[in-house]
C-alpha cells in the first residue's frame, strides 16, 4: 500500500510508558477527505495515537505519516498540515475568544489584517461573534468547545484531530459540533475522530477502527462492522410496562434465543439465534402478541447496534 496516497498512515506503531504499553503495533491507513472514527475503551491507546500523529509524542517503534510526512523526522511539515482539538478545551481562559484566535493566527504568521479577518470569520462561523470580546473563562462548555475547534481551524488544516470533541457537552451543543465536522469534511478535510460515544462514531464516521490494548481489533464502515458481528435483533416495546415479562417470553421464543432477553428503557430486545429468519421471527412475534391481546408501541427488526459490536469485539470490557 502506498503510504503517500493516505492522509494518515501508521505501521507497527509502538509506544510504552514504563511498563504500560499504550500502543502495541498499531496499523492504520486513512484515505483523504473522510472522517475516520477511532473507537475504544479508556486506556485503549486512542489519545496516545492522536498525540503521536500531532507530533506531541515520539513513537518507540514503527512509523507514522501525516499527509505523506513522517511525524518524527519532519514534524514541522506535519505541523503545517494539522489542526488539533484536545480532550479538554485548550483555550486560554484569560484571553477573549477573539484574542485566542488572533494569537493562533499570528503564530501562524498571518499578517495583522489577515489575522483579524480570519478571527472574525471563525467567530461568525462558530456562533461566537457576539461573545468574541468576552474572556473565555466566562464561556459555557459548548462555547468553549466551539472556540477550541475554531482555534484548531485557523490554519485551514488538511488533517484535523478531534480527541473526544463532544465529551461532556449537552445534546444540542453536540449536534452543533457534529454539523461543523460534517461541513469540514464536505470541504475536503480529513478528520480523525476518537470517541467513546458509539452513536457519535455511527453518525459521523465513514470508517471506524476499533482499538483495544493498543492494537487494531477491527475496522470497516459502521454497517460492515455491524454486519460482521452478524446478528439481527428483535425489539419490542409493550404499551403497558406491566406486560414486559409476558412480552419477553414471546420475543425470546420467536427469536429462538435460549437466554433471557434484554430489557432496557421499557424495550425488550433479543438477538436472533443463528438460522432463524428475520421475517419469520417478526411474523411470529406479531401473531403471538395479537393472540395474547398485547398492544405494542414499537416492533422492529434491526442490525446489531455499534454498542453490541463494540462489546463483542473488545470482549465485553466496559
Amino acid at each position: 500500500m502506498d503510504p503517500h496516497s493516505h492522509a494518515i498512515y501508521t505501521e507497527g506503531l509502538v509506544k510504552r510508558y514504563g511498563k504500560t504499553t499504550a500502543l502495541a503495533g498499531l496499523d492504520l491507513a486513512v484515505p483523504p477527505g473522510m472522517v475516520q472514527g477511532v473507537l475504544g475503551p479508556n486506556g485503549a491507546g486512542k489519545t496516545t495515537l492522536v498525540r503521536i500523529l500531532a507530533t506531541l509524542l515520539r513513537p518507540d517503534a514503527g512509523r507514522a505519516q501525516v499527509g505523506g510526512f513522517d511525524v518524527a523526522r519532519q514534524p514541522d511539515k506535519v505541523r503545517n498540515l494539522i489542526g488539533l482539538t484536545g480532550q479538554f478545551a485548550a483555550v486560554d481562559e484569560d484571553l477573549t475568544g477573539r484574542e485566542n484566535l488572533l494569537l493562533i493566527a499570528r503564530l501562524l504568521e498571518l499578517s495583522r489584517r489577515a489575522a483579524r479577518r480570519r478571527a472574525d470569520e471563525l467567530l461568525e462561523r462558530f456562533g461566537l461573534a457576539e461573545a468574541g470580546g468576552r474572556l473565555a473563562k466566562t464561556y459555557s462548555g459548548g462555547m468553549r468547545r466551539r472556540l477550541d475547534l475554531a482555534m484548531g481551524l485557523v490554519g485551514e488544516p488538511r488533517v484535523l484531530f478531534l480527541d473526544e470533541p463532544t465529551t461532556g457537552l449537552d445534546p444540542r451543543s453536540r449536534g452543533d459540533v457534529w454539523d461543523m465536522i460534517r461541513d469540514l469534511v464536505a470541504a475536503g478535510t480529513t478528520v480523525l475522530l476518537t470517541t467513546q460515544d458509539l452513536d457519535e462514531a455511527d453518525r459521523l464516521a465513514s470508517r471506524i477502527a476499533v482499538i483495544d490494548r493498543g492494537r487494531l481489533i477491527d475496522s470497516g464502515t459502521p454497517a460492515e462492522l455491524k454486519a460482521k458481528v452478524g446478528g439481527q435483533s428483535l425489539d419490542v416495546r409493550p404499551a403497558e410496562p406491566g406486560q414486559l415479562a409476558k412480552v419477553g417470553a414471546i420475543v425470546a421464543e420467536a427469536a429462538g434465543s435460549t437466554g433471557v432477553p434484554n430489557e432496557r428503557d421499557g424495550v425488550i430486545s433479543a438477538a436472533l439465534a443463528p438460522g432463524v429468519s428475520g421475517t419469520e421471527a417478526l411474523a411470529a412475534v406479531s401473531h403471538r402478541l395479537g393472540q395474547a391481546g398485547i398492544d405494542v408501541t414499537e416492533l422492529a427488526l434491526r442490525l446489531a447496534s455499534l454498542d453490541e459490536v463494540f462489546l463483542t469485539l473488545t470482549g465485553g470490557k466496559e
Binding site: D94, L95, L107, L108
Partner: protein, 255 residues
C-alpha cells in the same frame, strides 16, 4: 527555524502575556500587594523599634523590599508554564509550526515588564512615604538592573518548579517554601549584625543578603563591599545550575 521567525513567535507570545496582564491586572497586584503591605507594616509598626525612627528604617528596608517583590514576581514564569502545561494550551503551541523556544521567550519578555512594573510600584510607594535615594541616577539604574538580573536567575528555579509540579497550587506552595526563608532570613529587614549568631550564619550565605546589601549600597551611596560582585556571581551560579535543569525538563515535556 530562523532567528527572525523565532523572535516573531516569541513576540506574539509576549503579546499574549501582556494582554492577559491588561485583562486581569490583579495577577500583578497579588505580587505587589505583599511588599506594599510589608513596607507599611515594617516601616510604621516596627520601624521605631528596629532603627529608632520610621524614617531611618524606611531608608534601610525599601531596597530590600524591592528585592523581595521581584522574588515573588519571579513566580510568574513557573505559574505560567504550569498552567499552560496542565490545561493543554502548551500542547496546542507544540502542534503549531513555531520555534520550540518561542513559549519560553514569551514568558521571559512578559516577565521583563512585570519586573519593571513591580520596581516602579515599590519605589513610587517608597517615595510617597518618604524614601529618599542618595545615589546617582546611574547607581539607581544599576541597583534596579542588579535586582532584575538576580530575579531572572531565580526565574529558572521557578520555571523548573513549574515544569515539574502537578498543579499551579503546588508551584505556589513550593515557591513560598523557597522564597520565605530566602527573603526573611536575610538582611532585607534587619541588619545582619543584630541577628542571633545561628541565624547570622544562614543570613551571611544567603544570596538575597548580598543582593539587598548591593541594592541598598547603590541607592544610598554606601560602601558596597563585595556585595554587587557576590550578587552577580550568585546569579550566574543559579543560572549555570538551573537553566540546564529547566531546559531538560522543558525538553522532557516535548515527549
Amino acid at each position: 527555524m530562523s532567528p527572525i521567525r523565532t523572535a516573531r513567535h516569541g513576540l506574539t507570545l509576549a503579546w499574549r502575556s501582556m494582554t492577559k496582564l491588561r485583562h486581569s491586572p490583579d495577577q500583578l497586584l497579588d505580587v505587589i500587594m505583599f511588599p506594599i503591605v510589608l513596607v507599611l507594616v515594617f516601616v510604621f509598626l516596627f520601624g521605631n523599634a528596629v532603627a529608632g525612627s520610621t524614617h531611618a528604617y524606611l531608608q534601610y528596608v525599601l531596597p530590600g523590599i524591592a528585592v523581595q517583590a521581584l522574588m515573588f514576581a519571579s513566580l510568574g514564569i513557573g505559574l505560567g508554564l504550569n498552567t499552560d502545561l496542565r490545561n493543554g494550551i502548551f500542547d496546542r503551541f507544540r502542534s503549531l509550526p513555531i520555534a520550540r523556544s518561542a513559549p519560553l521567550i514569551g514568558y521571559i519578555l512578559g516577565d521583563v515588564v512585570k519586573f519593571l512594573l513591580s520596581l516602579v510600584l515599590v519605589f513610587a510607594l517608597g517615595a510617597i512615604v518618604g524614601f529618599r535615594t542618595r545615589g546617582s541616577a546611574l547607581a539607581i539604574l544599576a541597583a534596579c538592573l542588579l535586582i532584575m538580573v538576580f530575579a531572572f536567575a531565580v526565574s529558572w528555579v521557578t520555571a523548573l518548579l513549574g515544569l515539574l509540579a502537578k498543579s499551579p497550587a503546588a508551584v505556589t506552595a513550593f515557591s513560598f517554601v523557597l522564597i520565605m526563608p530566602l527573603t526573611f532570613g536575610s538582611s532585607v529587614f534587619v541588619p545582619t549584625g543584630r541577628l542571633p549568631g545561628w541565624l547570622q550564619a544562614w543570613v551571611k550565605i544567603n544570596p538575597v543578603t548580598d543582593v539587598s546589601n548591593a541594592a541598598r549600597g547603590l541607592m544610598l551611596s554606601l560602601p558596597l563591599g563585595g556585595a554587587a560582585a557576590a550578587s552577580l556571581l550568585w546569579a550566574l551560579g543559579i543560572v549555570v545550575v538551573f537553566a540546564p535543569l529547566a531546559t531538560w525538563a522543558y525538553r522532557r515535556q516535548q515527549g
